[in-house]
Amino acid sequence: MLTTNQIIFSVMLSLYTLSALCALVFYRKQRLANIVPNILSGTGALCGIWLSLTQLIGLQPEQVALIRWISSIPNVTVNLSLDKLSAFFLFILSVVNVGAALYSIGYLTHYYNRRNIGLFNFCFNIFNITMIGVITASHMIFFFIAWELMSLFSYFLVVFEADSSENQRAGTIYLIMTHLAAAFLMIAFILIHQFTNSWQIGGSLQDLPPLIKNLLFACFLIGFGTKAGIIPLHIWLPYAHPAAPSNVSALMSGVMIKIAIYGMIRFIMEALGSGFQWWGMVILIIGIITTVLGAAYSFMENNIKRLLAYCSIENIGIILTGFGAACWSYAANYPVLGALALLACLIHIFNHAIIKGILFFGAGAIYNATHTKDMESLGGLVKSMPFLGVFMLVASLAIAAIPPLNGFVGEWLIYQSLFASLEVAPLGLKVVIMLAVAGLAIGSALAAASFIKMFGISFLGLPRSTRAKEAKDPSFTIILSMGLFALLSLGVGIFPGVLVRLLDGVVYNLSGITISGELQGDSFLLYYPLTIGKNSLAPLAVLIGGCFITGMVFLAVKLLGGSTRQRKYITWDCGFTGLTSRMQYTATGFSKPLRIIFRIIYRPSRELKVEEGVSPYFHKAMKYVVTTQPVFEQFLYRPLVKGLVDFAKVVKMKVQTGSVHTYLVYIFVTILILFVYFAAS
């Protein structure tokens, strides 16, 4: 007998599958191949929202089995189930997918006659299905297969525009890094199986010997961390996001890298029971480093999508800061504190998915309209693309954690959880946590700076190219998808209590503590206070107060000033004639002060090429190039790769000689050793 959940889940899966099939069927008709699959997958996503909400609100038992199919081949089983944690990630996936489906209808039109839309939608939907598989898997082998398929299909999507060698390189780096991650995960799973003799996810691993637990922790941290993009394992991210189409970027940045965090919560926190106190500390330190460096690199980028990619890294850092605090608190036996930090981390995951959705959608729309991702040739877009401008402004404000949008609520909770841990932590950790506070502060200031740069340079001022001048607002579905997310962002920012209520069950399942009692978020008309200890935040009151005060200011100005005229005139140009767009501050110039101050992490180099004319005083042309070095690639990966290649060369010369006899000797010796081994044992 099927339960309602199973029916909805099956409907959702079949809608996604149908959508993928439709895409293949309408292979040759690109309009149909665009619209039909997207409508289907959008409906599937709505089913997903329904399913996950019923699970999150708590009408369902703790864990529901969805699909259970055991084949006769040992260990090949499909075992899908949905508990509250999975439901939350399914919720994020579905919400982002609703937007992505809407957005794709408009966005994919620009691939018409250039690329095969059917193929794209096929990969896109399979990618979605694999992500659902990872989230709901309760069997490690199935988890691993789904994980690998997820990586593979996201790789196909990243290299969708494969004509440029740059994109191909991006895909290759992504593939290598993601397989490095998979290797570590495989080691971890095999280790678990060795010790527990079960492939089941969700069993407690707390009785393992400490050494094995530590080993597992390291494997999971590296394995999931690479996918999440922690520094220094982040190098694939800034390449993959600019290469991928924007709807894919939104999904990858909004959901896929969060699935890595899901893995961490599932295995490190739930299965390993947060282990030892130093685990939390390590995660916290990684979180700080990732936050600060991610934000710092994002400020230096002039390519919009790369800027967004680094910003994702920064937000992963913020999320990990919360997660680290949670892990430490559980290990040190402060469950309430742990629950708070975990809640903050989960809320930030949701917020970031939404905001990153808008930003990547917007970046894609800009690219469609102007055919460039380089801010240096944009400018003035707020006039030519007014709707896009508004939504991008909202998203920029949200990600810079400006109240009363949702980014602020997430960061506020993380600050509060750090503050609460400061009161109980041992002395050494206190210093680390205070540094985390400083790191968060500088990270969010840098994020604000990056988005001021992104918005200020590409949307304000004078257009720096004719394409930017002639850009038009994108089609209706794109605007609609961004608008929906912007509303959601504002809604969560004003009523965070709703999200807290939803997440209460998730946290309760993981820690046995309900946190909504601590966060007294009662929604009556005026206030929505989130209270922790004595600290409170009432977003709605802030919003109403802000609107009221701004209105009063407006009125006061009108009353004080009386009737005055507003005159339009050119910007002051120091008395010269005419200010052109080439005289504006550039993106490179905007970030220059910090590039000079933090030269130790950017390692910038400047180059001035002068082409001399007749007289040395009148140059024909001057070229000024500023570059920053990707430090980690330069000093970590290059030597590593070089060492590997050298080693391979040695192997090629010494071991793989090419003579058949040598190979036969190898085989012979191996067999002999095996015989001896069995004889001895």
Binding site: A401, S444, I452, G456, L460, W572, P593
Partner: protein
């Protein structure tokens, strides 16, 4: 009703007093240069005149340029509401804590910087770029100082911090408070574009930060921006005055049944004291090169961090 009256009073004090602080600082500076200086209320006259004037708006700008003054003023006044001038009145502290104050000021800065970029002039971009740099450098030390005081008070709410330090005597003799006071004072100097960091009195592209950003504004818009800058300055001064100089116990000693009026007068005295301190700093230092500002920021960071550290050692 009680609440509304006290919010009204709070806003009134902050908004009305803010330009006066600038007048005091200017007077002290003039005094040191053996000048008479502008009248104490000069800024009020200036603002009044500006409100009456027509505005000129650049053609290159968008709607962001026009809404910025209102948003900046709104955000700053809202932040001012969260920093109580008087602890006996009911306060707005349930709506948010010091983190909200910092991020509201961040919101004001966000829009101000955007408006600098919106005009398309090089001055605006330059000011914006520098403002962003300074804010990035100072944010960590501000949060560390506030969190340390919060730890002592057991809460991040500004009101609780002030209440907690009001219970004690003259705090500056305690190392933790002295260190944090110095750290926040440096932030005050830098955030309000005072001399070692920025020069409010000059219009030279080499030196200006804040003035460059608002260069394109005129008339009402300019008046709002200037006023908002004053209020922001008063917010920082109030933080310093009410957290680090809690003279309430002295007041209680001097006149046991102190009225609202006398405590407001005390507040005024503290504000004047800090304003004079700011003026003295301006007189006795020279404008730093832009790339020496990180040194100052590092000093502020170190002071805040040492303050936190001493708190760890001694507890208070």
């Amino acid at each position: 009703m009680n609440y509304l009256a006290s919010f009204g009073l709070q806003i009134l004090v902050m908004v009305a007093l803010a330009p006066l602080v600038n007048g005091i600082i200017k007077k002290v500076k003039a005094f040191s240069q053996k000048r008479k200086g502008p009248p104490l209320l000069q800024l009020y006259y200036d603002l009044w005149k500006l409100f009456k004037k027509d505005t000129v708006v650049s053609e290159t700008t968008s709607w962001i340029f026009r809404i910025t003054p209102y948003i900046v003023a709104g955000a700053v006044v809202l932040a001012a509401l969260l920093v109580p001038v008087n602890l006996n009145l009911p306060s707005f502290h349930f709506a948010g804590d010091v983190i909200l104050v910092i991020y509201l000021l961040g919101m004001a800065r966000f829009f101000m910087v955007l408006s600098g970029l919106d005009s398309g002039s090089t001055f605006g971009g330059m000011g914006s770029s520098r403002e962003v740099m300074i804010s990035v450098l100072l944010e960590p030390s501000l949060l560390i100082s506030m969190f340390t005081i919060g730890l002592i008070a057991g809460s991040t709410s500004v009101y609780s911090m002030m209440i907690s330090s009001a219970g004690t005597g003259f705090l500056l003799f305690q190392p933790v408070y002295l260190l944090l006071f110095l750290a926040v004072f440096i932030i005050l100097i830098a955030e309000t574009s005072r001399i070692p960091v920025d020069d409010p009195a000059t219009h030279l592209e080499l030196t200006m930060v804040h003035e460059a950003m608002i260069l394109e504004y005129s008339g009402k818009h300019l008046a709002l921006m200037e006023w908002a800058a004053c209020i922001k300055q008063l917010i920082f001064i109030t933080l310093l005055a009410n957290i680090f100089l809690p003279l309430e116990s002295f007041l209680a000693f001097a006149s046991p049944n102190s009225t609202l009026m006398s405590s407001l007068l005390l507040y005024l005295a503290k504000v004047i004291f800090i304003a004079v301190l700011v003026a003295v700093t301006e007189i006795s230092t020279v404008k730093l090169r832009l790339f020496s500002v990180p040194n100052l920021a590092a000093l502020s960071f170190i002071l805040a961090f040492l303050g936190f550290f001493q708190y760890l050692l001694v507890g208070r």
